[in-house]
């Protein structure tokens, strides 16, 4: 690597960092405005016209806020957690192209790289949950691991479907292959799987059980404040942008579909604008979903991943493989994919929807089951009447 190349990569990485931070600021404003619209409110209005300067005020507030460390927290793990979450979120962008040649480094295995690196971010949530020495944070961390590991499987399998269609894991090549027909038309089932599993990976409503405010009061981030809390939010919004960008690149034809005129610098500029427009549409859809659906309960969430999404993902791969092997036309795959999507919706809304109790937990009393009540060993109060000894601090802080 020459010094010039080093300079190029350094500048590129810095530019990417600035771009992503700016995007996050736009996204926070956009999300508050979109949710406000859905709930018939105005949203932020005070700072700047229509609250457009609100993100700057937010950043100033967060940076000047006191950064509190809980006294029982494991300091090292507590402070490393935001970095462990933010690093993968940024590293993923090394290989995500925003237009032809507008990418830091296009990798042969770009898609695999994106998946492998993004998996690491779970670690940050776990570290935050454990390091905080807070029961809610801990439960949030546990929930995050459970949900993220489950939804990773349909997420990866949906990506695999696209890789099969394009016979490549190079994201630029996948976009080029969609010049005549976007994969949303070929594989609507794949898009559905990817978007749903992606939302779950992001932990956005309706899948936000790991920071469900009504249950675990904010999950792994409860104890964080100020700049460190801001780092978590930065990672969350960058990940949202990443998933939206991946939906555009893998299923909506990126900058190629439909045709993109011009060449050279003009082409790059137009491509970038087209790509960002599509991405923001996907992001608005994500916000719309957040404003519309209530949160799933944790058992429903896990059941949905393993009983609906994983089988559907296998069906998707099987259909794609059959169509590719027998060299049938792509319209065959479109029809098959749509049919299985319809079947999936029938199963979700038709069967589970009409008989809601199928998806709920019924708690039976021992009498209903005709069983003897279980005898629980109860701690006898100390004879001298002193109060029962309470457990010491939670495990952390060795």
């Amino acid at each position: 690597m020459t010094a010039l190349e080093g300079l190029f990569y350094g500048l590129g990485a810095a530019g990417l960092l600035v771009f992503l931070s700016g995007t996050v600021m736009v996204l926070t404003w956009l999300e508050r405005k979109a949710l406000a619209r859905i709930q018939l409110r105005m949203g932020p209005m005070r700072v700047g016209p229509h609250g457009t300067l609100q993100p700057i005020a937010d950043v100033a507030k967060l940076m000047t806020k006191e950064d509190i460390t809980p006294s029982w927290a494991d300091k090292r793990v507590f402070w490393l957690a935001p970095a462990a979450l933010l690093m993968p979120a940024l590293l993923v962008w090394v290989t995500i192209p925003m237009a032809r040649d507008l990418v830091l480094r296009n990798l042969d295995m770009g898609l695999f790289y994106v998946i492998a690196v993004s998996v690491l971010s779970v670690m940050g949530l776990v570290m935050a949950g454990w390091g905080s020495a807070n029961k809610y944070a801990m439960l949030g961390g546990l929930r995050a691991v459970g949900a993220l590991i489950s939804y990773e499987i349909p997420f990866i399998l949906a990506v695999l479907g696209v890789a099969m269609l394009s016979q490549s894991m190079d994201i630029t090549r996948i976009v080029d292959d969609q010049r005549s027909i976007a994969y949303i038309i070929v594989q609507p089932l794949g898009l559905f799987l990817f978007l749903v599993a992606g939302l779950a990976e992001l932990g956005r409503t309706p899948f936000d059980i790991h920071h469900a405010e009504s249950e675990v009061v904010g999950g792994p981030f409860v104890e964080y404040s100020g700049a460190h809390w801001a780092a978590f939010m930065l990672a969350e919004y960058i990940n949202t942008f990443t998933v939206a960008a991946l939906v555009v690149l893998l299923f909506l034809g990126g900058w190629r579909w439909p045709a993109m005129p011009g060449d050279g610098a003009l082409h790059t500029l137009l491509s970038l604008i087209w790509f960002l427009t599509k991405t923001y549409f996907v992001i608005l859809a994500i916000f719309w979903i957040r404003g519309t659906f209530p949160r799933l309960r944790i058992d429903q969430l896990m059941a949905f991943a393993w009983k609906v999404l994983v089988p559907l993902a296998f069906v998707n791969i099987l259909l794609t493989g059959l169509v590719l092997y027998y060299d049938l036309g792509w319209w065959v795959l479109t029809i098959l994919s749509l049919l299985s999507l319809a079947a999936a919706f029938y199963i979700i809304f038709g069967r589970y929807g009409s008989r809601a109790e199928r998806m709920t937990v019924r708690v039976y009393s021992t009498r209903e089951l005709g069983l003897k009540p279980a005898v629980r060993p109860q701690a006898a109060p100390p004879p001298d009447g002193s109060p029962v000894q309470v457990d010491k601090a939670p495990a952390a802080g060795a």
Binding site: M109, F112, V119, V122, A395
Partner: protein
């Protein structure tokens, strides 16, 4: 001569060794598991320097992503006090001996291997996949059989036995 790749190699080596030492020396089991993730990512770095990009990504994905997270998940469900004095268990000389023996075997094997003078070349993952699913299809299937056995074992172990009480 100091080339960037040499510097990176030593960096990866320091990460791997440091992480591994952290695993065995740390008295805090959670720190040990975090050391494990550092060590495994260091190994991924070594793979990357050997132009084995696919292996490096698999290393990050499987070990860094899945295995360590499951370990940490299990640790979070336990109490830290249960693991006090884990690293100075009285069997440690035996463990050290076993580790040294494995190191000796591996080092001898590596030292005996003729160093290829060929230019290092990237092996595309398409080629890798083709070889894996044609020439090495049977070993591959055997490995997946092992996973199946592990899955069935897990189901058997958590299967409820006897009545509800």
């Amino acid at each position: 001569m100091v080339t960037p790749s040499l510097v990176l190699f030593y960096l990866a080596g320091v990460l791997t060794l440091g992480g591994a030492l952290g695993v065995v020396m740390s008295r805090n089991i959670v720190y040990a598991s975090l050391g494990l993730i550092v060590a495994l990512l260091g190994v991924a770095g070594v793979f990357l320097l050997a132009f084995a990009e696919f292996l490096a990504l698999v290393q990050v994905f499987i070990y860094g992503g899945a295995i360590v997270i499951v370990i940490v998940f299990a640790l979070m469900l336990t109490r830290l006090e249960d693991f006090r004095g884990l690293s100075d268990h009285k069997q440690w000389p035996l463990a050290a001996l076993a580790a040294m023996a494995i190191f000796g075997v591996l080092a001898a094997a590596i030292a005996r291997t003729a160093v290829s003078t060929q230019e290092r070349a990237e092996v595309g993952f398409t080629v890798l996949g083709e070889r894996l699913f044609t020439d090495w299809a049977v070993p591959f299937e055997v490995v997946s059989l092992v996973l199946l056995v592990a899955l069935i074992g897990a189901v058997v172990m958590v299967r409820p036995t006897g009545d509800r009480n």
